[in-house]
């Protein structure tokens, strides 16, 4: 029982971690919380279902296309909505990303349909048994996806010029500008990365938990909770936060009631915000007056 709960906790936790990474990257470079992020995840899942179900593409190109389109959508949201908004106008940023999210949800409803879709799993539905545990193959894909993206992100941020410029912008936006780095480009790139990783999370999750045009905001809240619990601004924190959140949720579902598992994870978010706003792994930033 416990082993099974841990397995499902890690699976869902890995998804939360992938969503949280998107929040974290965008926050680091733009200093904003992207309320449309959940819709990138939704778009990834819905498009994956669309490409496999309606266009009858094989699984690999369908997933790839869904991921890339999701990144493109994120880039459009940044370019159209946010690129010329004042960095300190937080209310406008909240409203614009909320509005963009609603528009994306509406677009999905119109063009991808209102049905709950169950796209095919990446390698068949048959679950595997590891000792006494039963693990669905999709769960392994999810874990593998998380590891791949973490590695790729690490390489990108550490060893490429683009990654260096993104880190510079996140440390000091103004100083980075003086050093000839375009903060707009770093910010746009952050959105694309968030869109790609979020879209991948959506595509990975869809075969396991189905996909629907309306569940973006919910995924966003969970991903944000994971980002906050781990400490927003650090990708590693996002992973830790995602796993903590996934495990506590599946423990709550297993031992208390599945109805209130969301209450448990959101209560966790509120507690962390109240007691340790910088997150489990984050450092408290000095406040600028």
């Amino acid at each position: 029982m416990l082993g099974q709960i841990v397995v499902s906790g890690i699976t869902i936790g890995a998804i939360y971690a992938l969503i949280a990474i998107g929040f974290t990257i965008v926050f680091a470079t733009n200093r904003l919380v992207n309320f449309a992020h959940g819709e990138f995840v939704m778009a990834g899942g819905m498009l994956y279902a669309y490409f496999t179900g309606v266009q009858h593409l094989p699984i690999a190109p369908a997933f790839l296309l869904a991921t890339v389109s999701s990144g493109l959508i994120a880039w459009l949201v940044y370019q159209i909505g946010l690129s010329d908004v004042d960095r300190d106008n937080h209310i406008a940023q909240v409203m614009i990303t909320l509005g963009a999210g609603i528009a994306l949800k509406g677009a999905a409803q119109v063009w991808l349909g209102k049905d709950t879709l169950f796209p095919p799993a990446f390698s068949g539905q048959a679950p595997m048994s590891l000792g006494t545990l039963t693990v669905s193959s999709q769960a392994l894909w999810i874990a593998g996806g998380l590891l791949t993206f973490l590695l790729a992100l690490h390489v990108l941020l550490k060893y490429t010029r683009l990654g260096a410029s993104m880190r510079a912008v996140s440390i000091n936006h103004y100083a980075a500008t003086l050093m000839g780095i375009s903060p707009g480009r770093a910010a746009a790139m952050a959105f694309v990365l968030a869109g790609v990783i979020g879209g991948a999370a959506g595509g990975l999750l869809a075969p396991l938990a189905s996909t629907h045009y309306d569940n973006g905001i919910f995924l966003a809240i969970k991903g944000f909770a994971a980002a906050i619990v781990g400490g927003i601004g650090s990708p590693l924190g996002a992973v830790v936060g995602g796993l903590v959140l996934g495990l506590s949720e599946s423990l709550a579902a297993g031992y208390v009631s599945s109805v209130y598992k969301d209450v448990v994870s959101l209560a966790l978010l509120l507690f962390v915000l109240i007691l340790r706003p910088q997150g489990l792994l984050g450092r408290a930033l000095p406040q600028k007056l």
Binding site: V33, A103, F218, L289
Partner: protein, 317 residues
Amino acid sequence: MSSAIDRRLTLLLLVLLPILAAITDNNFHKSILVFGVINAISAVGLCLMLGLAGQISLGQAAFFGIGAYVTSNLATRAGLEPALAIVLAACCAMALGWAISRPLSRLHDHYLAMATLAFGTVMYIGFANGRDWTGGLDPGMSMPKLTMFGQDLSSMNALFAVSWIALTLSVFVANNIAGHRIGRTLRAMKMSAPAAASVGIDVVQAKAFVFAIGALLTGLAGGLYAYVARSFNAGVFGIGYSIELLMMVVIGSLNRVSGAITGAFIITVLPILFDRFEDYRTLVFGVTMVLIMKFMPTGLVDGLFSLGARLLSGRRR
């Protein structure tokens, strides 16, 4: 907020509404007016929080829900007089607003938005699953007719009159807060919380105050909603309503009570106008929101004002 122009505009709106109600003989249109007035009460509450004090909240639907459910439970189970039930329910919402503000007082902007969104979601899950008290999503709640002192007030005209009085009272409260010492305190806090604290303003208490007032007004609106809708389910009190409320305040004007009322009516009527688009409604709503924020960041009413001023001065030259 609470400038002379704003006060005059608000008064104009408050006078205009009963005239509109009197000339419409269609019950459906009248009901839209009543819901508009109820939304306006909630919007005035959020306008105080966001426009005056700079405290964003994406959890207002929770206070609205508390208002509706406490009212209906007090009225149907405890057999309380409806007016008393509504007032008590609004006070419950106020207490909740005060209580939730204390732990959140360290947060601002994005963090506050997300934390209140999480709070609203938790409350929504509670509403949807606490079926013994709320009827959840499926059977929902049904309410008796609104009566006061033995008078049947369930006709649309009477409901409009009651809601209109509540709105007038809310506007009175809001204008007084904005013009009073506490209003200046809140404005100072909006500009810079540390600076306000440095001149001796108790920021935590000021935040709790404005949350409590915002929740009180939204709870009042919720109580009225229970009697106007008479049958409703938990779906009304989801994240969607919180976002719509935020839209009302932002679309209207962040700095004017009259803007909140205008915004409330725009957002109440807009979906009905968009009805023929059916599926495109959400899309159009979202795009409208982005466009307004991009091109009129201080709200539609202020935006039109400055546009008008620009046109007028252009003509003079």
